[in-house]
């Protein structure tokens, strides 16, 4: 539900005067960082987010299989889980990660494969195992995966397989790239609009500010979802996956920038009156210089915070659009499209592991929200 967030201007309360004195000499960045680290939740989240983006970048390497590698014999295969210790009947112990094989039969009446994990069969796992040659990020030729089964064509479905016997984990990892980048690209675009427009309107104020405010008001007065639907439905429908992908991000950011603009403007209004800006003006520094050299750095952290807080919205929007059949479509692999596969009773009943994208989305969004909150609190301790 879109509740317009009230962006307060940092007020420095009387009573904290004594506290402020000692910290006053620290650099903005160091101070922010120190405060940030106290916000444990945010600190943990930071690492989670970093992890997510690492996965996104090195998807091909981390994912044990390719997103489209299928195996008819393992449709809807349940999760294997990874085991580390094995005991043979003769009582001898084996250490090291492995997965069990499956026993499969087809139930012709119910039309499905019935899987039973076969504890006898063990497929040992290894790191940096040989694989089909592939190109990391599309240009670095490689033929090793982070981990996988030692025998090349042993089944590996750590968190289960989808309806075509594709490895859900691998698809999840590949989907991460699209979903996270869609969020990032979208936000970066909004940021560009937001900072430039919001910045100038906040700095100059006056009629310019007024005009911008009206525009923002207008854009906000357009009901989001129909707008998405409309624009998404309006995309040339013979566009390829990639074009659609960027079109969608653009659409998302077109509507997303207003919020950022508001934040930035708010900060600018607050800063404009601060002494160091006035000082700079008196020194006859150019507006551009003032904005870029003096003002922007002084609330970089706010921008970062606002940005992190905007990404989750984008991700959710992407999934929602896919759900409505207006966003990305299979065969593109994104969290949204993966969830599309999961959104039916048959999956809930028969293959709940296909809901895993949902969990990942939740984790990612939680992490980013906390990170964003942490950054904001750190950037502006007295304001919030």
């Amino acid at each position: 539900m879109a509740v317009t967030t009230h962006v307060p201007v940092a007020a420095e309360p009387e009573a904290s005067a004594e506290r402020r004195a000692p910290t006053g000499r620290e650099s903005q960045v160091r101070m922010t960082w120190r405060r940030f680290k106290q916000h444990q939740l945010a600190f943990v989240s930071l690492w989670i987010v970093v992890l997510f983006y690492l996965v996104a970048v090195f998807a091909e390497f981390i994912a044990p299989m390719d997103a489209s590698t299928y195996n008819p014999r393992y449709t809807y295969a349940p999760p294997q889980g990874i085991h580390f210790v094995a005991v043979d009947p003769d009582g001898s112990w084996h250490f090291g990660p492995y997965v069990n094989g499956y026993k499969t039969e087809i139930d012709p009446e119910a039309l499905r494969r019935v899987f039973t994990i076969d504890p006898e069969v063990r497929h040992p796992l290894g790191f940096f195992v040989e694989s089909e040659p592939y190109r990391l990020l599309g240009f670095i030729p490689m033929q090793h995966k982070l981990f996988g089964t030692v025998e090349p064509d042993a089944p590996l479905y750590v968190i289960g397989a989808d309806r075509l016997g594709r490895d859900q984990l691998s698809r999840l990892i590949h989907g991460t790239r699209i979903s996270l980048s869609i969020g990032l690209v979208g936000v970066v675009l909004s940021l560009v609009f937001g900072v430039i427009i919001g910045g100038f309107s906040g700095y100059y104020g006056g009629w310019f500010d007024g005009a911008v405010q009206r525009v923002i008001e207008f854009i906000r007065s357009l009901p989001t979802i129909p707008l998405w639907l409309g624009l998404a439905a309006a995309l040339p429908r013979d566009w390829g996956p990639l074009q659609t992908y960027f079109a969608i991000t653009l659409i998302l950011s077109l509507l997303g920038w207003t919020e950022l603009a508001r934040v930035v403007r708010g900060r600018f209004l607050a800063l404009r009156t601060e002494d160091f800006v006035t000082a700079a003006q008196l020194d006859g520094a150019s507006d551009y210089r003032i904005i870029v050299r003096h003002m922007v750095p002084s609330f970089m952290s706010h921008i970062i915070a606002a940005t992190t807080l905007a990404i989750p919205g984008m991700i959710l929007a992407e999934t929602a659009l896919s759900f409505l059949g207006l966003g990305l479509q299979a065969p593109i692999v994104s969290w949204g499209t993966l969830l599309q596969d999961a959104q039916n009773i048959r999956t809930l009943a028969g293959a709940p592991w296909l809901l895993s994208p949902g969990i990942v989305v939740v984790v990612a969004i939680l992490a980013m929200n906390f990170l964003g909150d942490g950054l904001r609190d750190a950037a502006d301790p007295y304001g919030r």
Partner: protein
């Protein structure tokens, strides 16, 4: 307007036309015989819910409501009991097809349950002249609309008149076929004659098909008030009502056949077993039908049909909701939307809890997916390639069909090309199985024979202009998720032999928009015409607009889209001539011979690549719902389950 959801639609008559045509005389004789026995040998019974109404005189007694010789229906298992509500679901706003499949199917004639005969219905008999240009029908004496007024030849004539009115847009029926104009002549109350310019061998099948309802759905007494020729005020009235013209008001008040608006107007009289009592408006969350007290059929003991009192259809945009309803035993019979391959396991498991059973539906479609390369491709290079038989054979051999069957259809089905199904008398194993074995080497040989010898860096084969072979395939995954799955597998399999395939998962409108511009490499659809070979020859030769693979050729054949119409290849022209002969001929044996010839050419030319035989579908029926056959044929022209006489189903 017509249904959005039907993808298995085919049109025109039944699979064994020769027997169909026999049926004319035979059936005529038979029914008169039936009539003799069935006449008031014993007092007719009626549903208890009507007794009160008859008591207080709002309804005449059942004898007066029934025609002189009601149609006697042989129950599937046994004579049933009155009462009960048949609950089902409509998927959102565009699902009028479900009503067509349950309530509306009751034309002049109908198909028998085996789908091999046209039998009497409203018409108790008919005669056809020898060159099949003139048909005379005899309605039952004393048929009545659901409002109690008589149903006569005049109503038929009115329907024809209205449908033929150029200002009134009714989509292609035999009445508006520019290729073969027809006229109607009323002989008397119960007798009328259709006269055609050219032979119309297939009329009875069209009348027996789902489209037959159009002719018997417009009551002259009611509908003529909106029609200027009968009511000079009609235009004025429409204007007052805020319509932009009489036609708009007519469409709205007096919609024909299976038009959705038909169930939005409670005043509209029906000839069907149930009449709508809760209208289907844009805001309705359910549509309700109740028994038509003037229905004109009885069971073998003379009980007026239908047995079931009410039909309750939930309007739901959400298939998941419908699925849960079915699992929860809140749906008494359905075979639509939710009865998919993917859902089979949960419905199977749910039988006990939901107290329902799964029945078998034999599909009329042959192969699960037809890859229709655009043989009229505007780009000469592609055009040449697609028209190269070796290329198509190469593709076919490159497909590992068993893998697809295992993955997508849980090993149900067998490799199958677009060809008549084993159940059809046109079944030709060679045609169905040719080039289906998975053999990459052989595939490569054929591809190279097609001139694709060079490959580029990614191992993609190059056309003579040095361009890599890349086929963009259009698919509407919304209609059948399986299609997308199959394509995703094909994509990888074709890559193995150096053919690049791109999947365009697109919206239906665009799917159709692209055709007239010939602006596509290939489209996929299901293998219609597996049982109704003669009626739906779209994959056997460029027969109609659904023959996407040769759209320009069919345009030439049907005289549509002149701007793109293009003279077909020799072999296709030959087929077209043969089919023309077939349509003209009244003799079933001749028709079969001609069709076989057409099929042989198709087999020889191999224009289309298929995947696997469509496995049987299933229906979901509550355990206490009786007189439902365990196995049904599933088609559109034969609108399952209507031909299995839902009016004689009952709850025990």
């Amino acid at each position: 307007m017509a249904s959005r959801e039907e993808y298995d639609m085919t049109y025109l008559f039944n699979p064994r036309s020769r027997r169909g045509v026999h049926a004319f005389r035979l059936a005529a004789v038979m029914t008169t015989a039936v009539a003799l026995i069935a006449a008031p040998a014993y007092a007719q019974q009626q549903a208890p819910m009507l007794d009160a109404l008859v008591e207080d005189g709002t309804l005449p007694p059942v004898e007066e409501r029934l025609p002189d010789n009601p149609l006697v229906v042989e129950p599937v298992d046994n004579v049933g009991e009155y009462g009960g509500t048949w609950r089902s679901a409509l998927r959102g706003t565009g699902d009028n097809a479900w009503i067509a499949r349950t309530v509306m199917y009751d034309g002049l004639v109908r198909y028998n349950r085996a789908w091999d005969e046209v039998i009497p219905n409203l018409a108790e008999s008919w005669e056809v002249n020898d060159d099949a240009t003139q048909y005379t029908f005899h309605l039952r004496e004393g048929l009545k609309w659901s409002d109690g007024t008589p149903f006569t030849s005049a109503d038929i004539a009115f329907a024809v008149e209205l449908v033929q009115d150029p200002d009134y847009p009714v989509g292609g029926t035999f009445m508006t076929d520019p290729g073969n104009p027809m006229t109607v002549e009323v002989v008397d109350e119960t007798t009328f004659t259709f006269t055609f310019e050219n032979p119309k061998g297939l009329l009875l099948d069209e009348l027996a098909s789902v489209n037959g309802s159009t002719l018997v759905s417009l009551q002259k007494a009611y509908c003529s008030q909106f029609y200027p020729p009968y009511n000079p005020e009609a235009e004025q009235m429409a204007a007052d009502e805020g319509y932009e013209g009489w036609a708009f008001m007519m469409e709205d008040k007096c919609a024909w056949g299976q038009e959705t608006q038909r169930w939005a107007n409670l005043d509209l009289p029906f000839m069907n077993a149930w009449v709508v009592t809760e209208p289907w408006t844009g805001t309705a969350s359910r549509v309700v039908f109740e028994r038509n007290p003037y229905y004109w059929k009885v069971d073998t003991e003379g009980n007026q049909l239908p047995y079931i009192d009410r039909l309750e259809m939930r309007v739901s945009e959400s298939t998941e909701e419908i699925t849960l309803m079915a699992l929860n035993g809140e749906i008494d019979f359905t075979d639509r939307h939710i009865a998919t391959v993917a859902n089979r396991p949960i419905f199977f498991d749910g039988q006990e809890a939901g107290d329902y059973r799964l029945g078998t539906e034999v599909q009329s479609r042959s192969t699960s997916l037809v890859l229709q390369l655009n043989l009229n491709h505007p780009d000469p290079e592609m055009n040449a390639l697609f028209n190269n038989r070796d290329f198509r054979i190469g593709l076919s051999h490159a497909l590992n069909r068993q893998e697809i069957i295992d993955a997508v259809f849980t090993s149900q089905g067998e490799p199958f090309q677009p060809a008549p199904r084993p159940e059809s008398q046109f079944y030709d194993e060679e045609m169905a199985k040719q080039y289906t074995e998975y053999d990459p080497e052989l595939a490569v040989q054929h591809l190279e024979a097609a001139g694709l010898t060079e490959t580029n860096g990614q191992g993609i084969r190059l056309m003579s202009n040095g361009e890599p072979v890349s086929i963009a395939v259009d698919v509407i995954s919304a209609l059948q998720p399986e299609w997308l799955d199959i394509l995703e597998l094909m994509q990888l399999q074709l890559a193995e032999v150096g053919i690049d395939m791109e999947i365009n998962n697109i919206d239906r409108t665009l799917f159709y928009d692209k055709r007239p511009s010939l602006d596509f490499d290939a489209q996929v659809w299901a293998g219609d015409g597996g049982l109704d070979v003669v009626q739906e020859p779209r994959y056997y030769f460029p027969a109609n607009a659904e023959s996407v693979w040769a759209f320009a050729w069919q345009a030439w054949y049907n005289g549509t889209d002149p701007e793109i119409a293009e003279e077909p290849a020799e072999w296709a022209r030959e087929q077209m001539e043969l089919y023309d002969q077939l349509k003209a001929s009244g003799d079933p044996a001749e028709q079969e011979r001609l069709m076989v010839e057409i099929l042989d050419i198709a087999k020889e030319q191999f224009p289309l690549v298929g995947v696997s035989l469509v496995p049987n579908g299933y229906y979901i029926a509550k355990n206490n719902l009786r007189n439902v056959p365990d196995e049904m044929k599933q088609a559109w022209l034969f609108p399952t389950p209507a031909p299995y006489d839902p009016f004689q189903w009952y709850f025990e």
